[in-house]
């Protein structure tokens, strides 16, 4: 499956959770495609935030409002008041920030709902590579070597849900899919073993 198709699958899954005309913040918005998609399909408005200069430039090219910033040095609460957004979205970036737990708290403070997607380190292939190969996993969803990976805080679905529980975060909805963002019966029965990517919708309790 093409990268474009996978992305559009993810966009569709996310957009299923978004009410029309909402106010949205996309953290790590990249070239702004998701936000653009949501603007077109759901008439949302809001901002993207991005650290990378080239991606910021591309996002500007896509016509979205983008703020170039390093979320490791600026708190989201510096920029935005409580409940400023209907949705704060962060796709595939939780594992690259320096303190995912703190960022989650900030997201939940400024957003009424948060949508988060991240790769599952507990997927059976990752477990198998470590168990039988004795090496750090390299897969389609985690295509890096241990020494050059930007993914410094990998977790499993179970880990994430435990963090939510500890922090009194309510998991509103969860969708578990494979690397092509398609779901199956197996993934619904044993998500932490068979799911590769999860989409979570969370909010303050």
């Amino acid at each position: 499956m093409s990268q474009g198709k996978i992305i559009s699958n993810e966009f569709k899954l996310i957009s299923n959770w978004i009410q029309p005309d909402s106010r949205v913040l996309d953290l790590g918005c990249g070239d702004g495609e998701l936000l653009n998609y949501l603007i077109k399909t759901h008439n949302v408005n809001g901002y993207g935030m991005e650290l990378d200069p080239d991606k910021t430039t591309q996002a500007l090219g896509n016509g979205i409002n983008v703020i170039q910033t390093d979320l490791n040095s600026y708190d989201l609460t510096y920029y935005f008041d409580e409940d400023s957004f209907d949705y704060v979205i962060m796709t595939q970036a939780l594992q690259v920030v320096s303190r995912p737990d703190e960022l989650l708290e900030e997201m939940l403070s400024i957003g009424k709902n948060c949508i988060i997607t991240f790769p599952n380190f507990g997927h059976w292939r990752n477990r198998a590579q470590l168990m039988f190969g004795g090496t750090m996993p390299e897969t389609e969803t985690l295509p890096y070597h241990w020494f050059d990976t930007p993914n410094i805080h990998m977790c499993t679905f179970k880990d994430f849900e435990k963090l939510c529980d500890d922090k009194h975060i309510k998991v509103v909805a969860r969708t578990v899919v494979n690397s092509e963002h398609e779901s199956s019966l197996g993934m619904r029965i044993a998500p932490n073993l068979l799911g590769e990517v999860a989409l979570y919708q969370i909010r303050k309790k």
Binding site: R23, Y47, P53, D54, T56, T57, Q58, L60, G61, G63, I64, N65, V66, I67, Q68, T69, Y74, Y78, Y79, F80, D81
Partner: protein, 381 residues
């Protein structure tokens, strides 16, 4: 449309008095300006460029003296501010010395040169006077207001004072007001000029002289704040002119030579007026749009309806990225359409005038958006 060289300065004569922020009145005045490109039929493609402290109306193209415009790298056919698409206007600020009425002009009441009697004008006054330029071109709304440094502040003032006249506001390397340190640098520059024996209380033109030494010092100091420590280290380091220490007070280090050259060029060759320099630094010191809104920048920018692009440069310590963050934050407080880029550069405050791929990419892509919005306005009409 290519720029017709040599570029020509035009003058807008205004015969109605301008009520200034200070309480004084300017009975009549002229604004010197240049234009590039063509105003479209529905007049939706006009852009106004605001210049920085020592800038002027000659922003692009080559003038009769063979001098390139101060932002020529960014304005022209196919360039970031594309004169094939936009009609670009730049005027010399009131109080300037490049053609607009200022301290070197004749005071109609006395028949003599204004000199120090020229009233102090503020950023707000500049905006008021430039609004007549907008009316002169019969432009309902500028497609964009663009400025760097002091020019960026003027763009902010425009967006606050005439919200419906500004579609896009591009604020580069600016600040919402000067810091104590910024004001302190300005004050030292002013003292340098005013303590020059040739200053004659500002009436140096009548004495047929100019306070060259003071102006040179002021410019050297100013120039220092435009560069970054890193860049000076790379460019000059501790390099010596003669190769070895001379143990005297002549120019020994290359950096000294460079600064003196810049200062002297400004005071002599470019013949910048010392009273204008004093006035511009004062206008900068006074700039504080939040002051009219309970010192709350968010409330001040609540007036604005323009879409914003804010740009800062990492090594700029005169108006650091932190200062741009303040602007962005105030705009976000108002749910405004705003984008922000923090460009990596070692060139300090000067970076906004220099080539830089990230800066150009950001600027160009945003100008595409300005263009799309211009076409949309055109389609509506």
């Amino acid at each position: 449309m290519s720029i017709t060289n040599p570029t020509v300065t035009h003058y807008l004569a205004v015969n109605q008095p301008l009520q200034l922020t200070s309480g004084a009145t300017l009975p009549e005045y002229e604004l010197a300006y240049e234009t590039y490109g063509q105003l479209n039929e529905d007049k939706s493609n006009a852009i106004l460029i605001c210049h920085a402290l020592s800038g002027d109306q000659h922003v692009a193209g080559i003038d009769a003296d063979g001098k390139k415009g101060w932002w020529d790298g960014y304005i022209g056919p196919g360039k970031v501010i594309d004169t094939d698409k936009f009609f670009v206007v730049c005027s010399n600020n009131l109080g300037g010395c490049r053609g607009s009425t200022g301290p070197t002009s004749i005071n109609p009441q006395s028949g003599k040169v204004y000199g120090p009697d020229f009233p102090i004008v503020t950023c707000k006054d500049w905006v008021q006077s430039q609004n007549l330029l907008r009316e002169h071109f019969d432009v309902e709304q500028w497609a964009a207001l663009i400025g760097g440094s002091m020019g960026g502040m003027q763009v902010l003032q425009w967006a606050i004072d005439f919200p419906d006249k500004v579609r896009h506001a591009i604020v580069i390397a600016a600040a919402p007001k000067l810091s104590a340190q910024n004001i302190a640098f300005n004050e030292v520059a002013r003292r340098a000029i005013m303590s020059d024996p040739d200053f004659h209380d500002g009436r140096f033109i009548e004495h047929d002289t100019t306070p060259k030494r003071g102006l040179t010092l002021a410019r050297m100091l100013g120039h220092l704040t435009y560069l970054s420590d890193d860049m000076m280290g790379v460019k000059f380091g501790r390099e010596l002119r003669e190769g070895k220490l001379q143990y005297n007070y002549e120019v020994e280090f290359q950096v000294e030579s460079y600064l003196r050259y810049q200062g002297e060029k400004f005071a002599t060759k470019q013949n910048f007026d010392a009273n204008t320099y004093l006035l511009m630094t004062k206008a900068l010191d006074y700039f504080d749009p939040a002051a009219d809104f309970e010192h709350d920048l968010s409330k001040a920018l609540a007036q604005a309806t323009a879409k914003f692009l804010v740009v800062s440069f990492t090594s700029d310590w005169r108006f650091s990225p932190q200062r741009s963050h303040e602007i962005v934050k105030a705009l976000l407080d108002n749910d405004a359409d705003v984008s922000y880029a923090e460009v990596k550069s070692e060139h300090g405050h000067d970076a906004f005038l220099l080539p830089n791929p990230h800066y150009e990419g950001v600027f160009r892509n945003y100008m595409e958006r300005v263009h799309r919005d211009t076409l949309a306005v055109e389609a509506q009409k």
